[in-house]
Amino acid sequence: MKQDRKISSLEQEIEANLKRVYNDIATQEVPDRFTQLLNQLRDAEKASTECKNG
């Protein structure tokens, strides 16, 4: 019985730790390099399309 309680409390702590790492990062501000990368990809594509069309 005591062993079961210990396991279920360990299970709860496992869930909490999993969520903690994930949520810590998920709620952090995203580094600029990623939004910049998306903008660069968009610009590059726009430039190449204009090139083809022009």
């Binding site: 210990k6 396991i7 360990l10 299970e11 702590e13 496992i14 869930e15 909490a16 730790n17 999993l18 969520k19 903690r20 790492v21 994930y22 949520n23 810590d24 990062i25 998920a26 709620t27 952090q28 995203v30 580094p31 390099r33 990623f34 939004t35 990368l37 998306l38 990809l41 968009r42």
Partner: protein, 182 residues
């Protein structure tokens, strides 16, 4: 018509969270995200509009991991590194299970168990979504998650016993004194 790629930005933080959870290494995780973004951008045709974009992005992310970064993770794997150290500063509410112990145990799971556990246990994915993301049957995801949980419990039970003995300063003090006396 709206470009579905405009939606990618909304999933950046989740992509990082998944990558860090998978690798426990923030530098490696960010490299993974970067590679996955380039791939997602150029392969947008393979995304079916109206379907789960996060699952689609996570699929690309995990493929990036398996094809390019898995080896690097093994080489730089350092559960006592920067990430683990910063998280270890924050003990759980009852201060019993330290993040460091958790990370050590988590590190011992195989990649497939780790990703299934992160998707379902932290990312809020349903078993169906996780199965779709990993390209396996729902039953496979369920069994990976169950086995991962069971293995963590076993590993943590072992380290838990050690921790209980080792972190009790008073006990440690008494043991040390006794050793000195002897």
């Amino acid at each position: 018509m709206a470009d579905p790629r405009d939606e990618i930005v909304e999933h950046l933080s989740a992509m990082r969270a998944f990558a860090v959870s998978l690798t426990r290494n923030s530098a490696l995780a960010d490299d993974m995200v970067q590679d996955a973004l380039v791939k997602a951008w150029t392969k947008i045709d393979s995304y079916q509009e109206g379907t789960n974009m996060r699952a689609w992005l996570f699929t690309i992310l995990r493929n990036t991991y398996y094809s390019h970064h898995r080896k690097a993770r093994r080489e730089v794997a350092d559960t006592d590194g920067e990430m683990a150290a910063s998280l270890a500063q924050k003990p759980d509410h009852d201060g019993r299970l330290q993040m460091r112990d958790f990370n050590r145990a988590f590190e011992m799971l195989n990649d497939e168990q780790r990703e299934a556990l992160v998707l379902v246990g932290a990312g809020g994915f349903s078993y169906e979504e996780a199965a779709e993301t990993c390209g396996v049957a729902v039953g496979t995801i369920k069994s990976r998650v169950n086995r991962a949980r069971k293995q963590l419990v076993e590993l943590l039970q072992m380290s838990d016993d050690e921790v209980m003995e080792a972190t009790d300063i008073v006990t440690t003090g008494i043991v040390t004194n006794q050793k000195n006396v002897a």
